[in-house]
């Protein structure tokens, strides 16, 4: 299949990806002309990146109604992959707003380029319909992130990067081994062939290992232990990026694999362990978050649980469930990035270790920031008037409708635990505190406010109008 000679239409399908992958070269080139540590240097790098992402987003939007099966069906662009790509693009733009002030100014071009390459990996994963493209996208995403984790001068940054490198490589190992077995069982790396192949033990084991690899990347319990440490050490914008873009890209692969690459009569049996992982993630993710006082660690555990909610929506692989998973992912992107943007605004350089005590009396010191944070936390806890509420009820409905009422029950249980996690922060912000002992740092970079505002609007508006595009069933060709 890969042997067939690529044609112009194949490259047209990759156009948005090309833009995101090429702009970093331009950024690095332009950066060569700057010698001083000026603000303009940061501005040009991030500005170019944002322009590139906007162009890519617009190009991708134009492809939404089409279905391109490029490179012999290895990369399927349109509908499903576009929605995921747009989430990745928007999240990357928000991350860039957070990252502009972080680090030395001669590093900003490099950081920005790596962020874009990482995002392009996620975009590749969104369209991947072939085991090799999945791996290509995943490694592109991850390799850039290893460097990004290590870019901070903190000592924990190197620990974070090394941990991420080793454990993520192990996940890649699982994924590769699973892919090899799948190839061995079917003689093809194409999802389309897997879907029609006879089910053999080798195929089942291969699919299982492949899913384990994905679960590692999604940090589903029990493959989650690396997440809090890696998140804690990485620079704040990188953590924000990882918490959304890595998950979006991997969820796209998981959805395409679960919905389109498994023989339909055996899919339920092969995927059954996945729902157990989702259930464990919702419970243990939230329980783990209870004890955290560092915001990044807390949001890491919260992210584990939130991905559990999204995977729950896949239960029974119903079309409705997929739509609500995407809706909730979009909502999670807004709520989570919003929370990270608030944290970024609380550190002078946009990347300090922000512990829970730093939020003491925030409602009295910086009421707008506290209000925004409260809104995001309410949303993450699944309370109205946010997409957290609407998205959760839709996932519940889809899960119950698919016959997985027990999973819906676990989701409710996890949400109940999570209330304590999120409202713990609300309590610290609103309870009266001795403000004299609180460090009141403010970020010198006001751009995260844009991210905060957009995220508030999206969180609220999606809750009222929970629009889900209809053209999102993943295809293999």
């Amino acid at each position: 299949m890969l042997g067939s000679f690529p044609v112009a239409a194949d490259y047209a399908a990759l156009l948005p990806w090309f833009v995101v992958a090429i702009v970093p070269l331009l950024i690095l080139f332009v950066d060569l002309f700057f010698k001083d540590a000026s603000a303009a240097r940061r501005g040009v790098a991030v500005g170019l990146a944002i322009v590139g992402l906007v162009v890519a987003g617009a190009l991708a939007a134009g492809q939404y109604p089409h279905e391109y099966a490029a490179f012999g069906g290895a990369f399927v662009q349109g509908g499903f992959s576009i929605v995921f790509s747009e989430i990745v693009i928007v999240a990357t733009i928000a991350t860039l707003l957070l990252s502009i002030g972080v680090g030395r100014s001669d590093q900003v071009a490099g950081t920005t380029a790596l962020l874009l390459w990482s995002a392009s990996g996620a975009m590749l994963m969104a369209g991947a319909a072939n085991l090799m493209i999945v791996f290509l996208g995943l490694e592109l995403l991850s390799l850039a992130l290893y460097c990004l984790c290590a870019i901070s001068v903190r000592s924990t940054a190197r620990e974070s990067a090394l941990k991420y490198l080793i454990l993520s490589s192990m996940a890649s190992g699982f994924l590769l081994y699973g892919s090899a077995l799948l190839f061995g069982a079917t003689g093809s790396v194409a999802f389309a062939v897997l879907a029609t192949a006879p089910v053999t033990p080798v195929l089942a084991v291969g699919a299982g290992l492949f899913l384990v690899g994905l679960a590692f990347k999604l940090s589903l319990v029990p493959f989650h232990a690396w997440t809090p440490d890696v998140y804690e050490g990485a620079p704040l914008p990188v953590t924000a990026f990882m918490s959304v873009v890595t998950k979006a890209g991997t969820l796209a692969v998981l959805a395409r694999f679960a919905y389109a690459a498994l023989p339909s009569d055996h899919a339920a049996a092969i995927l059954a362990p996945l729902w157990v992982l989702a259930a464990l993630s919702m419970l243990i993710g939230n329980l783990g978050a209870l004890a955290q006082t560092d915001m990044k660690r807390l949001l890491a555990y919260s992210g584990i649980a939130q991905v559990g909610y999204i995977v729950t929506a896949f239960a029974g692989t119903t079309a409705l469930g997929l739509r609500y998973a995407i809706l909730y992912l979009a909502g999670y992107t807004a709520m989570n990035l919003g929370a990270f943007a608030v944290v970024a605004l609380m550190a002078r350089d946009g990347d300090a270790v922000v512990g829970l005590p730093r939020f003491a009396g925030l409602a009295y010191r910086r009421p707008w920031l506290a209000a925004a944070m409260t809104f995001f936390l309410i949303g993450l806890a699944g309370l109205p008037p946010t997409i957290g509420f609407t998205g959760k009820i839709l996932i519940l409905a889809a899960t119950v409708g698919a016959g997985y009422a027990w999973l819906a029950g676990i989701l409710i249980l996890g949400t109940a635990i999570s209330a304590y996690v999120y409202f713990k922060i609300v309590r610290v912000m609103f309870a009266r505190a001795d403000l004299a002992h609180v460090r009141d740092e403010r970020s010198s970079n006001p751009l995260p406010w844009i991210a905060v505002t957009v995220c508030v609007v999206v969180t609220f508006a999606l809750g009222l109008v929970p629009y889900t595009p209809s053209n999102v069933l993943p295809l293999v060709k």
Binding site: L383, A397, V400, A416, F423, R427, A433
Partner: protein, 474 residues
Amino acid sequence: MIVTALVLGPIVIGLALYAVPRERIVLVRIIAAAVAALAFALAAYDPAAPDASLRWLSRPFVASFHLGFNPISFWIVLLLALVTFGAALALNGPRARNIAVQLLVLQGAMNGLFLAKDLLLFALFWDLMLLPVFLVLLDGGPHAHAAWKYLIYNLAGGLALLLATAAFGMVSGSTDVLYDPNAHIAIGIVWGTWIFAGFAFAFLIKTPVFPFHTWMPDTYAELPTPMVAVVSAVQSKAGLYGLIVICSVFFRPEMLQARTLMFVLGAIALIYGALASLAERDTKRIVAYSSLSHLGLILLAVFTGSQLAIQGAVVYIVAHGLFSAALFLVLGAVEQREETRDLLRLGGLGSRNPKLAGALVIGALAALGLPGLAGFAGEILILTGLFSAGVVWPALVGLIAVILASAYMLRLFQGVMNGPDVPDLPERRDMTWLEGFAIAPLVIAFLALGVDPGPITSLTIGAHTAAPVNVSAR
């Protein structure tokens, strides 16, 4: 239009109050009271105001932002406006503005809850109304145990409600069904039991009913006076309201099955609440436990399901709202003067503050069910309804609790107002005009309702021939 304004108006104006400087207590008071008065006028102006409806979801089930008056919620909205008015005038102290914000947000959210004609919207407002109370409780102190207790209990109920609502929507295809006489929904036995269990769990926690009541005394004791008046008067009725308009319409068989259990729980609440009220020293907790007892009686009525008992339940819901708010406002005024709520420290205030004593005695008499006041009207309708439906032993327990009510209410009054002067209590002026103005509408309302509960009972019957409440038709 009117119904939308009743929901969004208070929320928007409430949030806008954050723009008012913290020291301008009088301005805050005026704005909050004006909003409440306006809400009362709006609701009373046109009880037949048209519904407002906007499609929310079409998949996987139909749901709408559907708000509209119905015979029960009309009265509760009026009650809420009256209580909020009184509470707004009682705003005081450095936290006044922040409490005013949450007071108005709470009013809007609860208007939404009672006006909702869509189950999912009901669930939305159910969760939304937790937040203002939680935030006010947090504001109170560094530990905020009461805040956690309140949130965890009520959110557990809210999540059960959410799951039940999702399942209801999937089974019935629509949640836009409240008060819809054309909605013929058959929920099978298997699902029915589970969904009913989810709803009942939420409603029993909220009411609260033994054994889910432990959050309630703490919450009532910790909340500032204006907030506790509203929460005890109206928010505690949300569960009973849900039982009447949701469970007794869509889950009649399940309600019948759960009847004995609920009678037992109601009876326990009736007696336990009364005894705890007799044993408490904290004035606010005395009223809190008395609420537990009174609401147990309403629970009995709701599960009896006879027309008469349900009418009595609605009358008693409104009556209890009026007198418990009045009691909390008076006791709040006492607390503000004497800086204590301890019954053993208080005493002898009656001779110095005769007006305050008068207000307390009227509230206490209404609470113990003196004929001619609203409490009596509700109690007699409920007890008659119970006896006539053949529910004898719960009715007898209810009677005992009514007798115990006299004991604890008189003990409360005696402890605060009678007896010799306590020398180390500060001397303070009698009730002010403002305090009188806050309580007067409540007193007038429960006097009027005690003389003639007809408006409530007739409206309830008249508009309910179609569907809800008419449980006796089973």
